[in-house]
């Protein structure tokens, strides 16, 4: 083998290793998002998004475009405050980031991922606590910005937020809140966001669109 052939082989290896490293870094980014969500570490969450007007957060509460409106969302409408973490220890918002399928674009600058979000929640509610299981699907767009992968578009399709049967919050504190409808357009958050584009909640039949084609047949998955 000539040195030129060896160089070409090494270059191809470098490209493939870069792709695997990118996938690893993106999985780490998305899982950090989940760990920060558990205790509503708003500053850490906001930092994960790219500082671009194209950044978007699409959740059950509505759609938020641009980093400033995303900041409003994680700050509960008050963008000038700092929320290092939720002050209320009765608040718990575990959303495990599971089942990740990550595809890096050939240019190595953008990527897409599909994930499950699932976890145990406890939301303080009118003097009590509402314990829930939450589940749904994420489709996420990522962008490499100054050598770092960042969140660009986070689309959360919540399928259910279900009160827990036998509860892990004290029965005396229990006050179930069933989140089985999309958030209302007249909520204070809507000053900064748009209502959700779709109702993903069970039993809407909504299927979060797939960024990937069938891995074997290559066929588009229409939903």
């Amino acid at each position: 083998m000539t040195v030129e052939e060896l160089e070409a082989k090494v270059k191809a290896l470098e490209n493939e290793v870069q792709r695997l490293k990118d996938i690893d870094e993106i999985k780490y980014l998305q899982r950090a998002y989940g760990y920060y969500l558990e205790n509503w570490m708003a500053e850490d969450l906001i930092d994960l998004f790219v500082d671009s007007p194209d950044a978007a957060l699409k959740v059950a509460a509505g759609q938020f475009f641009g980093k400033e409106n995303i900041r409003h969302f994680f700050h509960h409408t008050d963008k000038d405050i700092v929320i290092e973490k939720s002050d209320n220890p009765e608040f718990r918002h575990q959303v495990m980031q599971l089942n990740g399928v990550v595809d890096v674009a050939p240019d190595g600058k953008t990527a897409q991922g599909r994930w499950y979000g699932f976890g145990a929640n406890a939301f303080p509610n009118e003097g009590g606590i509402s314990p829930n299981w939450m589940g749904g699907t994420y489709e996420v767009d990522y962008v490499k910005d100054n050598g770092k992968w960042k969140l660009k578009v986070v689309h959360w399709c919540m399928a259910f937020n279900a009160p827990y049967g036998g509860s892990w919050v004290p029965e005396s504190r229990r006050n179930d809140k069933k989140t089985d409808t999309p958030y209302q357009p007249d909520s204070p958050l809507m000053k900064f966001g748009q209502p959700p584009a779709e109702n993903a909640l069970y039993p809407s039949g909504y299927i979060c669109p797939f960024h990937f084609k069938n891995p074997v047949s290559g066929r588009e998955t229409k939903v």
């Binding site: 083998m1 000539t2 493939e16 950090a32 220890p89 299927i207």
Partner: protein, 214 residues
């Protein structure tokens, strides 16, 4: 280093990289299976299986052999009717594909994987809906055909399908134990922190923020 030594090093790296790429591709394959299962996208699921006569699906309903058997199971017994997606929006069959351990065999052509399957289900029954939590283990085999990994054997060992409110234990056997057990007999070397809800305890992070490094 001589050119021959470099060649050997590059060849070894290519082999190792191929193994890592194979593991990544198999994980995508198995996770796609999970996403398709949620809405019973039978055609997408069937496409994930090899065309080999050795194909097996082993599930609670029984064992199904060959691609025809796979079609019979995922098309609800009607082999000739394509089923793109479950029509009833009240049907929900989430089986998250979790905790993978994937090993590529030395031949690079076959592989094995162990996974957890776990998720929330809702099955319409007459005009009502049965809701539950499903849990189990997969032990699967994969085969590389024409450069693509496919499922050769899918073995699903379901450990429970539990009603949402009542849990997965026979109610007549259930006993509620206090959630502050006494561990003093174990003579721990030091007390542990109280991480139980609602202590507000946050497990310390070993990593800095991936974007800001703060």
């Amino acid at each position: 280093m001589t050119v021959e030594e470099l060649e050997a090093k590059v060849k070894a790296m290519e082999n190792e990289l191929q193994r890592l790429k194979d593991i990544d591709e198999i994980k995508c394959l198995q996770r796609a299976y999970g996403y398709y299962l949620e809405h019973w996208m039978a055609e997408d699921v069937i496409d994930l299986f090899s065309d080999s006569p050795d194909v097996v699906v082993r599930v609670r309903a029984g064992v199904f052999y060959g691609k025809e058997g796979v079609k019979r199971f995922f098309r609800h017994g009607r082999v000739d009717v394509e089923l793109k997606v479950q029509d009833d929006p009240k049907f929900f069959h989430q089986v998250m594909q979790l905790s993978p351990v994937v090993h590529i065999n030395p031949d690079g052509k076959t592989a094995k994987g162990r996974w957890y399957g776990f998720g929330a289900n809702a099955f319409p029954v007459d005009d009502r809906i049965s809701q539950g939590w499903m849990n189990g283990i997969y032990e699967n085999e994969y085969v590389k055909e024409n450069g693509k990994w496919k499922i050769l054997k899918l073995c699903w060992y379901m450990t429970f399908h539990a009603s949402h409110r009542n849990g997965w234990i026979d109610p007549s056997k259930e006993v509620i134990v206090p959630d502050n057990p006494d561990f003093s007999a174990l003579k721990p070397d030091a007390p542990s922190e109280n991480s139980i809800y609602p202590s507000g305890f946050i497990a310390p992070f070993h990593f800095k923020n991936p974007v800001t490094d703060k």
